[in-house]
């Protein structure tokens, strides 16, 4: 029984982690809490839905939607963040402008798709074969989702650790001024960061839509806030922390549901987050010290 | 009178200050000099409650102030300026002066505002001017004005001449001496030895967190220990 719960937690956690990674990447590089991340998450899910309806095979729709999300991320930076960087507006103003973009994206989605729930009717989602492995059961769809998330996160890890772009991103995250002095093209590196972060967030959106076979306008709401808990737990700016935190959250949530505390699980999650902020604001892996006057 | 008695401050296992004792008397200007990293700003921070003492005591007019929160120490009558100017830049000159007088009952009158500008040497500046838009030298003086607005017993000036040219520095000497003459105890942290020689009645020299010399500016300038401390750190500032 507990093995099944942990497995469910693993699947849930993988998607949480994927979403949180994008959140924390932007914060780590730019000190901005991007509240449009969840809107992009939702937009990608709708995009994948539209492509699926148009006949695209699901894996292709997934990839295209993720790329689409990445592009929206670049636009988001150009419109809402770059002008503020140019005038040194601090870190709270971009947070608010990200809300503006989120509102706009939400309004566009609402205009195009209306308020009804959408379902992926193709790809055999409802009739996916269940696999039994000893005491646990899961569907091929769940497995595919899990692996997609893992592959993407591993890909990110490789990019950050081993590629030139990754080195540049880490340099900018460490010290923007020094990186610029050393010749790093700031704007291009930041654009690449947003492409990756939003692309991953969008991928998480498509996977979530597939997981529950449901795409709605407000699907981003819960995960946007839970994502905050994940990045606080894992440490703001730490990608490893976001991954570990995502899995921990997935486990905690499924166990809470399994053991009867489901109604209060959000309170537990945010209670822990609040306690962490008060006591150990750097989280499990965070390098950013709490900013105090 | 401000008295530091055997003060020690530790930062992460290192003694930033060790057994420092000094007294700042009303009506006199005490200079605090030393190479970079000697602990001068640490001393000011410890006095204003921003750094905890590992040992020793700090008293103002006989009453212990170490361990008090910074705002209480300020209210006890210690005002300061900052090495990197910390004005309320988006607010106007008037608000900055009013800020200085915050802890005093009531509000400043028009005459008091004018007097403060005068004492700070910026009588020509408009009260409605934005503090952050003032020329650099005027900003430094506005900070001094803000400190004076508190009607303090002690004023600590942290490198007030930084970035000033020689003629501005000379004017600053008069301002500082006038502050002392009004009965305030002045602690002046400075690198500019011309200013120190002209403005200070006595000087304390710090190096590596310890007092290595004291005396009049002339005595200290001749002290071979002090000369070596400065030459050793590469700064030929005693010339």
């Amino acid at each position: 029984m507990i093995a099944q719960q942990l497995l469910n937690g693993l699947f849930l956690g993988a998607v949480y982690a994927l979403f949180a990674v994008g959140y924390t990447l932007v914060f780590g590089v730019l000190d901005i809490l991007n509240l449009a991340h969840a809107a992009i998450f939702t937009a990608a899910a709708f995009a994948a839905f539209s492509l699926a309806v148009a006949g695209w095979p699901l894996p292709l729709a997934f990839l295209a939607a993720a790329v689409f999300a990445g592009i929206i991320g670049i636009l988001l930076d150009r419109v809402a963040f770059a002008p503020l960087r140019a005038r040194n507006a601090g870190t709270l103003v971009p947070l608010i402008s990200s809300i503006g973009v989120a509102i706009i994206i939400g309004a566009i989605l609402r205009g195009i798709y209306g308020v009804d729930e959408k379902h992926f009717t193709t790809g055999g989602l409802d009739t996916a074969p269940a696999i039994h492995l000893g005491v646990v059961t899961f569907t091929t769809v769940e497995l595919a989702i899990f692996f997609s998330a893992i592959v993407l996160m591993l890909g990110l890890s490789w990019v950050l650790r081993a590629s030139t772009l990754g080195r540049r991103i880490r340099a900018v995250a460490e010290d923007r001024v020094a990186a610029a002095l050393l010749g790093v093209d700031l704007e291009r590196t930041i654009a690449a960061t947003f492409f990756i972060a939003s692309g991953l967030g969008g991928a998480a959106g498509v996977l979530t839509g597939l997981e529950y076979n449901s795409v709605t306008l407000d699907m981003g709401g819960p995960i946007e806030l839970k994502g905050l808990a994940v990045i606080i737990l894992g440490g703001m700016g730490s990608v490893t922390g976001a991954v570990v935190g995502g899995f921990i959250l997935g486990a905690v949530e499924t166990l809470a549901i399994a053991y009867g505390a489901s109604a209060w699980r959000d309170a537990i999650v945010f209670g822990v987050m609040f306690a962490l902020l008060v006591a150990r604001p750097t989280g499990l892996f965070g390098k950013r010290a709490l900013r105090q006057a | 009178m401000l008295v530091l008695d055997d003060v020690g401050v530790r930062y992460g296992g290192v003694d930033a200050l060790r057994a420092v004792s000094l007294a700042v008397e009303p009506g006199r200007v005490l200079g605090l000099i030393g190479p970079n990293g000697a602990g001068k700003t640490t001393l000011v921070n410890a006095t204003t409650g921003l750094a905890p003492l590992a040992s020793g005591t700090i008293s103002l007019d006989g009453k212990r102030i170490d361990g008090l929160p910074p705002h209480r120490i300020a209210r006890a009558g210690i005002a300061r300026t900052y090495q990197n100017i910390r004005l309320f830049g988006a607010l106007d000159v008037r608000a900055n002066l009013a800020a200085g007088a915050f802890a005093r009952p009531g509000r400043l009158t028009a005459e008091e505002f004018a007097a403060l500008l005068d004492r700070a040497g910026i009588a020509h500046v408009e009260l409605t001017a934005k503090a952050g838009a003032l020329p650099y030298g005027d900003q430094r003086r506005l900070e001094i004005g803000r400190a004076l607005a508190a009607a303090p017993g002690v004023v600590m000036l942290d490198e007030p001449a930084a970035g000033m040219n020689p003629s501005e520095t000379t004017r600053l000497v008069d301002t500082i001496r006038a502050i002392a003459a009004s009965g305030i105890a002045v602690l002046l942290i400075e690198h500019d030895m011309t200013l120190v020689r002209a403005a200070c009645d006595a000087v304390v020299v710090l190096n590596f967190g310890e007092v290595i010399a004291r005396g009049t500016p002339a005595e200290v300038a001749r002290d071979p220990i002090v000369v070596e401390a400065y030459l050793g750190s590469g700064a030929g500032a005693l010339a």
Partner: protein, 282 residues
């Protein structure tokens, strides 16, 4: 005269909403003036709304009494919240207060006395338009007079430079607590009025989406004067209604206005005719 009465009859709900929204915006503006992005006002309003509704429905208290108690409760909650978050700044404070809001929402969702997820219905509908706008006027006037006191100066100094504020003798912790408590009180008033002006009250009425809305009103209107917050709330509450022809796209206007304000008029719309130095009464 009949056209005015007709207009009111058709739009009374919106008019009431604008009044309540304006008070909510004022409650956040107090925290923003202190430089704190404390996003708990919606939760404070929600707590007060439930307290006021429960007292009215279960104990049959008159409106004024329920409002007084509700405001007291929300102020105390705010003052207590100020303690654990006293060292948090910027984004961290924002996240902590968002978390607090979510915890409150879960409690409202699960307690029997708050009606659970269905919430409460049948709240006495005695917060009439005059009552709401009289309250708005009282709050706005109170804040206006407060802006001429030393407290307002202290708030501005804490916002500009906390460090230097301590250096002039300001107890920064106390200022932060007081401004959060004041915001809590005003939000409480808005919440109680909301409860008595609506037919039902549900936990999702005061969740994070509502908090984001309040923030948008303040930013668009500008927070350096009470007028700004009221302006922002009024404009952005009316606009989606006024551009109904855009149908499902109509919310896009608020997002575009928010971005435009941030990019071109960062002090908010109310700053457009008060260009220049931030004047603080001394």
């Amino acid at each position: 005269m009949t056209t005015l009465a007709d207009f009111y009859a058709k739009h009374s709900r919106l008019i009431d909403q604008i009044g309540v929204n304006a008070i909510l915006a004022l409650s956040l503006s107090v925290s923003l003036q202190a430089g704190q992005l404390a996003l708990a006002q919606a939760a404070f309003a929600g707590i007060a709304a439930y307290v006021s509704a429960i007292l009215a429905m279960n104990a049959h208290w008159p409106l004024l009494a329920t409002i007084v108690v509700a405001v007291l409760v929300s102020s105390v909650v705010a003052a207590v919240l100020a303690y654990p978050v006293r060292r948090l700044r910027g984004v961290f404070l924002a996240i902590a207060t968002i978390g607090f809001g979510e915890i409150v929402r879960v409690f409202a969702n699960n307690l029997k006395i708050t009606g659970g997820a269905e919430g409460l219905s049948g709240i006495p509908n005695d917060a009439t338009t005059p009552v709401i706008y009289a309250s708005l006027a009282v709050v706005a006037l109170a804040l206006f007079f407060l802006s001429r006191t030393k407290f307002a100066l202290a708030v501005a100094l804490v916002r500009e430079d906390e460090y230097a504020a301590r250096g002039v003798g300001i107890d920064v912790g106390a200022i932060r607590t007081l401004s959060l408590a004041l915001g809590g009180a005003i939000a409480g008033l808005a919440g109680a009025l909301y409860a008595h002006a609506s037919f039902f009250l549900t936990p999702s009425d005061f969740g994070f989406p509502r908090m984001e809305q309040i923030l948008v009103w303040c930013v668009v209107g500008g927070v350096t004067s009470p007028l700004g917050a009221v302006l922002g709330a009024a404009l952005l509450s009316i606009l989606p209604e006024a551009i109904r022809f855009l149908a499902d796209y109509r919310e896009i206007s608020n997002g575009i206005i928010l971005l435009a304000v941030i990019l071109f008029a960062p002090g908010g719309l109310s700053s457009l005719w008060r260009r220049g130095v931030v004047r603080v009464r001394s």
